[in-house]
Symmetry: D3
Subunit: 307 residues, 6 copies
């Protein structure tokens, strides 16, 4: 007799899946998984990191004089792999409606081409982030250390790539890219967030930055800072409205210390400072300083909603 009787479990699992698929109105058509793959995205991002920073994140045996060969080859390979994932996401988006395969292919190619063209600017922005970290942390000894060791920089590499996917209307690829960094760093930046140059996140664990956040240049934030939504706007039917601006605007040169929570479409004025653990749901004027003590009085009694 077999040690375990597998058959009834296989059958029950099958029944649960059919139940789910029925409830989700899934077709029961046979077929493979037509969905972007986190493993593929991981490989693409690893290649793109090498393309952006060949002598630090590329292969160990790379030499400066042959960087361009490496970059050309790796970029070509990464873009074609990306093209396949883009196709899958576009098909998935259209799965409930008839669509023209050729048109979709043209769109996919255009999207990848646009992404590729943005890479030099992404590198330029990331260079400002590296410098910001180097200048903002007295413990940093070199820009190389910052690039290789700082979780905040890793999170920004992923974010600046994921943000491109987001503005190309590829939310799944964007999300997969940013979750890879979230898992490694504990820093959770929504791909939709708009973040200016020279951004520095120190330590980083527990940082959450919401989808419609707008962050200026030279902003510095510490671990466990949340830029969240205060409440979810609802439409006349009580359904959540999507895409409305609901996260903070952080102007240039702002510093936000660890554990601060800023909720809703408030504006932190240029050069202001938010102290550690502060709970904030109001604007701060340019140059202002908010400490936890100040922030007590500002609280409304409404339960603070965050997304």
């Amino acid at each position: 007799m077999a040690v375990f009787d597998i058959n009834p479990i296989v059958n029950s699992l099958n029944a649960v899946r059919q139940e789910w698929r029925r409830s989700q109105r899934r077709s029961r058509e046979p077929g493979g998984r037509e969905f972007p793959s986190p493993q593929a995205i991981t490989k693409i991002l690893d290649d793109l990191k090498g393309v952006l920073f060949p002598m630090r994140l590329g292969p160990l045996d790379l030499r400066q004089e042959s960087e361009d060969f490496y970059i050309g080859h790796t970029l070509d390979s990464a873009l074609h792999a990306l093209l396949h994932q883009v196709r899958l996401e576009l098909q998935y988006q259209k799965r409930h409606q008839p669509h023209d395969g050729e048109e979709l292919e043209i769109r996919a190619i255009a999207v990848v081409q646009a992404f590729a063209s943005a890479l030099p600017d992404i590198r330029r922005l990331l260079d400002t982030d590296v410098l910001a970290a180097y200048q903002g942390d007295p413990a940093a000894r070199s820009v190389d250390e910052v690039l290789l060791c700082y979780p905040g920089v890793l999170a920004m590499i992923h974010h600046r790539i994921a943000h491109q996917f987001y503005i190309q209307d590829l939310p799944l690829l964007a999300r997969m890219s940013s979750e890879l960094a979230h898992s490694q760093t504990g820093i959770d930046i929504h791909p939709g967030a708009q973040i200016g140059a020279s951004f520095f996140i120190d330590h980083g664990t527990g940082v959450v930055i919401g989808e419609t956040s707008i962050i200026g240049e030279r902003v510095r934030i510490y671990q466990a800072v949340t830029l969240g939504a205060k409440r979810f706007p609802t439409d006349s039917n009580g359904k959540l409205e999507k895409g409305l601006p609901r996260h903070p605007i952080v102007e240039d040169d702002v510093v936000i210390y660890a554990g601060a929570t800023i909720l809703g479409r408030v504006t932190l004025g240029q050069g202001c400072t938010v102290g550690g653990n502060v709970w904030l749901i109001d604007d701060v004027p340019p140059g202002g300083h908010v400490t936890q003590a100040d922030s007590q009085g500002m609280r409304t009694c409404d339960p603070a909603a965050e997304e």
Copy 2:
């Protein structure tokens, strides 16, 4: 001459180990490692994820029409691998007392069979969690995105499996399973916690849920929420008592915002809301709202203990 003189270091390390083993009253009998292996657990959990969600977490080339073959094969392999780990844990539990090998084997098989039979219910519960995340997060675009990208869902897959190990009295396997998710997501759910259907953790980094927590249905919590113990009950000898209920009860439809800390065997009544960063050591009535401002007055002066 050798570059490094290894021998004295090997000898010193040996001496420290003997010291430790003496202090731990370890036998000095030769022999191999008789202890469950995190690597084995990792493989088993990866297989079980494929068994539960074959078209999303199974192999990339799987097709819907042959799911059951894949599931049967993978489940059989995973259960036998699990059987071996269960044996190791049971032997370890009995290491200081005489025990009957055959009885232990019967127990191991029964435990794995019971675990296997629970898998369809685990899948059903996880489906409710996926739906809860999809409905609770306006940014979520599809249930597939939720299943593949949300750290809170990954944590719940691990938890619902680990909880089965826990109630089968396999605390080591349970702990190894949940620590795998903790490491990837920053979400630390003790395998003992009882959690109802449709549970949703957003962002998740820094969440801690203690061993005797009881959570109802449709509960939603955000990053950095702690459901902890207020103090450790001690027995008449001053020793920590184990297993006493010491973590919160969270009833159905409760929402707890980011950074809230709820300590002790308090009850959050059905449908209540706990605001961000709130520090709470008292009950909240059903439908109640607690904000940080409210919570200031409730504090006792005792140092709050957490486990």
Copy 3:
């Protein structure tokens, strides 16, 4: 026609790199990467974990009677791999000044030899950490579970090794070692922190311990505790001064509960307790208790700086 036109992107990326290198005054000399490698450090640390705890973190098929063979072989291999990384870091430190290769080699060997000699003491300290976790957590069932499953213990293994690199003046290797643990555990301990025996971090996600922190024996801290700097001392030119003591001193037997933030060169006196979420920028007397309520009044209006 090619699907993507790679050439202009390769050229633009080249231009951005040249810009960066000019701004960093990098030589344009061809050559390979002369920089320590995180992958190499990962392998070295995995080997060292096996050397320190052969029957728990070494190979699965190891047997007690042949531990010393395994340790000798693995240690020799790890030390020579480390020697190579040390060479790279020393060369990198001297990259802007002329230096004597032979002298540097002698220094590298001496540094690795000193590191190796410290390993037995590192193991002895880690044994106290394991015991502290076992005794401090009522949920812990065995020292083996603690060693294999507790993220706080993993963080301390990395820290006690990284701290050796730090005091040997190898900040890059130190940082790479501690970031590996940070990524897996969410616990961010600067390699410079001095930590006494029997240290226990529970749960751990979000813990940050700054460079000049000094922690006594038998200290216990919980998740999301920050031991930070209040402000960065500046010299007469307004430049950040490095290396000044700016993080807390935590004396023996102190307990700090989850979410507490302690900033600046304050002293937490022996045996005192700091409650959860407390924000603290002043000394606490020996045996004292601080709760969140107490701490409200202590706040200055200055924005709290943290590093």
Copy 4:
């Protein structure tokens, strides 16, 4: 200055490739490799070996009671992987002529379905080969040893699969399959050869069996035996004619000893024996015995051609 000047070599290699492509009238259209892949074939054959002999060539942890799950899953995966390779080969066959993609897809599916349906018969034939080896070699101790260790059996597993590809008009897949065995065993059987049941090749190194060979049942041959072509038939233009029968017919129960060379469309009559090192270009009557001495006189003075 770079150590090596790569550019001129890259350019020269490019020039040689263009020369070759021009000479081969290759299009210079950009595009990927549209050609079956030996690596893919290797994986497919490994899977098929497991499908045919699950408890000996399947995964180590397979158990008899769940064979069918394994087989169903692996077969499904292997057939879809094969479908992709079949597509590539069919497209390659049609590369110089217009063709209808849909028709080609229908053909590819039909071919794979036919192949799959032949698998049970392939297994049945291979069982006879295993038994023949077991019975024909006094050193063989069990059928399991024969299946796992005998190169002749490995070569026949590949051949019986490759022959199916051959008769489905997939010569590239057929060739790749048989060359994998050739490389491992030194036995070179053309996929076109027709080989009856209970075939046994002992030792095997150096065996060559040509495309139009026809081998009956219960035939036994030893190392370095060649069944070759005597000369290549040419058409009236002096061009080699393809597909004409040009290799030996070996009837049932024939034994051919090591090093024998049999060339041309001769017939070795039922039950005859060919001695070691014999050179043979004439028929042998049923039951006949040919030794090297006999064979001297038979030689013509023409140079013996072999394919």
Copy 5:
């Protein structure tokens, strides 16, 4: 509809397997594969090669001063892995008869211990083989080149290990070990062959050496040489008798050139030479020379049998 209908094929394959198992009188009891594994043997042999020649076939980063650590660790690991394979083979040998598990375990341990004790002598013999190759091939430039590059030496490393398994009555492990070398080198030495010191096989492809061959010291043979059996002795029932001496005895200092075939229990006297392609079924006196011309007359008309 599914692309392929897998079910009928799975069922047919199942039917063929049942047929085979019935014909082989296999139990239909469920259970795993209880049979030595070629993959395990491959790993064990790789480890043993490192144990025997640490600085040439061991890990690349090994250093001479710590060889013994490496050897002790690797040997211990290899012996325990071997112990497991020995157990499997002994159980397989006894599969049709009742047996005492404990006795079998004692036997397995004794066998492995005996094998281990033979390793220094194996190394000593292999050193003579290496020297013989170096001295016998004018193209050889160093003993290191011989050890690393000569297929004949690789075949002898496998043979001298396999022969130990053979004399410990472990024919499956022996056969698996020698087939690994056969596949890589084209040299097929039966594990039973007794081969003296300083044996050299040049080129090697196609060499076959039968089970009861006895080879003296300082013998040299070239590619495609066969030491085979002339006919298989049968008992009074016409069944093949096993184990009877049926292969050549080759005395000290004999040289056999490429392609020579020597069959039956003949003796090649000390110091004799056998020319290329010679077919030989008679004794050769000490110091004699046989060429192909000589050998023509010796032939009998019987079909030459070889095993």
Copy 6:
């Protein structure tokens, strides 16, 4: 008690090694392996195959329009890896004599540069070999099939590379390169052999081509052909003389059928044909035909020596 007592075996193995090293006059200085590595050569050759034939032997996802990027990157990486192996071989050559490190480095670089410059010619020659196989084998369906599947072509890729190493006086790298092909194909071509364009080896198993062989253009040979040495010339002291021409010269357009053995510095005149199994130690005139029958009379009674 330990299962196996490892220590005495470790000690005995140590003793045997010391014995060997003493006999070889090896220094007992500690240190690592300073010797070229077959694994490194394998990787270098795999890279070079991709450099030579990017769309067939390069990465699966390569596209024609970005070949040059791939080639530049891979070539650079392969040449630097080769440089390291060349250094090791040159140091090994000089191990018994004082040498100047810088001079050796200059030599190593020059050697690799020369090798790199020869690659386009190697490709051009290999193209002729591929065409020869395609035209010479009626079974060949395309040049792509020939390149990917024919063992003779694989052997020639290795040989033409190995021959470059040989003429650069790197016999170890040359030998390692050719043995890799020997192991996979059973074709053993000494790196020293000079082979003209359009060379075709069919089937190939058992082919041996000696060091001083000279082969013209458009030569075709079949399996088991030996081009060997008749006897080893000795100097006045009876020592083997090295480097003397001792293998056949094969002029243009010669065909040699399977199993033929040609020994000594004989010349096979242009366009002649050597029949299967022929044993030949004399010249053949241009256009001549030799069959086995012819060759009987030519034999001398001397034992035929082969190398």
